[in-house]
Amino acid sequence: MHTIIRVLLLGSAVALASGCVTSKVDQMVFNEPTEGIGSATVVILGRRHASDYDTEPDFVECVGDHISSGDRSIEVIGELEFVNQFYPWFEPRTAPLQIADLERLMVRQPVVAEKLASMNTQYMIWIDGSTIDTDSSGSMTCAIGPGGGGCFGFGTWGSDANYEATIWDFRESAEVGRISTQASGQSYMPAVVIPIPIIAPVQGTACDGIGDQLLQFLSSEF
């Protein structure tokens, strides 16, 4: 009997340790490679041209890791490595917004086209979006004295993640897909002596959602 109670308590604790997240993924893709992408490489880049937000570098890395770990045969080029290789053409100010801009750049700077060909890059995936904290409420008081310290109170806040991935196919010279994901969740921080953060993995859920759809597009195994 005690074992069952312990298991139930442990299960409840694990369930509580992460807040609830709801997510939605929409996709629209064309010319999906039926045999996977073979030996071609993929680069995933974050959009940073908006004035009020930047796509987080760690989110872009998370999506890349998700794809690489889902199908080891897909080579994903790291964002920083790619941006440095092609400096200054993929900086926030100069990054092409449409595939036609990239084609114009390759005509104007043939060295860019040569380098892209040498890297055998077939797909460029642009991720645009961010995760923001929304409403927060509650209060917490912490104190410390000679006998020890502690906190008491309760805090809660919401997070919203909105991302869109746009897929460019170099061989077809066309945009071949858009995948968007929305996730939202509520995090809690009760404190009775020790604050216990119960964080909703909003960004992680968005990363998994967009990563799964991209895997379905790029991989022959999914």
Partner: protein, 222 residues
């Protein structure tokens, strides 16, 4: 007969400790200095078939900024950008022009300098910043306005123009203040390089000069 010897205790270690503590305290009183250090990759672009001279004024090579509300000595922080400016511009110009030659003196009538097609003199005309105290998040923002002069070796003006650059800390997650301000400055310098590479040949006076030295055909391909 008794023989007693009294020897003074060896105070040297204590003395050194006191000196070290004093030095430590004095160092703590000085401003927190950030020497900007970043990765400035060489640009991937077609080189202009020109030999460009470059002259950095002392104000440029030792450029720094500090809290505007105080004097340099009273400021609690100091950001030194001069060395990083020179590194970035050297790397950028060497990737843009067939040959880049540092000048031995500021171009002027009678000044002996190596023979070049023109001399570029960059200058930081203005710098503004936003610090977390202004923005409430650990994100620093830096705006730089550069003034460029393109002159002959004799100091005769060919073109003069200004150019903005902007950088902000890409992510506020788990970064010290020093790392955050360094990243913002590096982003601003990378943006300056990107803007220069993109806009140099579009400056009307530079365009006219390029047409003159390269002819219509070469200038049109820029």
């Amino acid at each position: 007969m008794s023989d007693s010897t009294t020897s003074a205790p060896d105070c040297k270690p204590l003395l050194w400790l006191a000196v070290a503590l004093l030095l430590g305290l004095l160092a703590g009183c000085g401003p927190a200095t950030v020497v900007v250090d970043g990765d400035f990759p060489p640009p991937t672009m077609m080189k202009l078939p020109l030999t460009l001279g470059v002259w950095y004024d002392k104000d440029f090579t030792t450029h720094e900024f500090f809290d505007e509300a105080t004097s340099r000595t009273e400021s609690s922080w100091l950001v030194t950008t001069g060395q990083a400016q020179v590194e970035m511009w050297d790397s950028m110009l060497q990737g843009m022009f067939r040959r880049v030659v540092p000048m031995t003196g500021k171009p002027a009538p009678g000044q002996m300098n190596p023979s070049v097609d023109a001399v570029l003199i960059p200058e930081v005309a203005e710098l503004q910043y936003a610090i977390p105290a202004h923005t409430n998040v650990k994100v620093y923002e830096i705006w730089i306005r550069y003034r460029f002069q393109l002159v002959t070796t004799g100091g005769n003006p060919i073109a003069e123009w200004t150019m903005p650059a902007y950088g902000k800390t890409p992510t506020a997650f788990l970064q010290s203040d020093q790392e955050a301000v360094n990243l913002a400055a590096v982003m601003a310098l990378r943006d300056a390089g990107a803007n220069f590479a993109n806009s140099f040949a579009r400056v009307p006076a530079v365009q006219a000069w390029l047409q003159q030295v390269l002819g219509d055909q070469q200038e049109a391909s820029l």
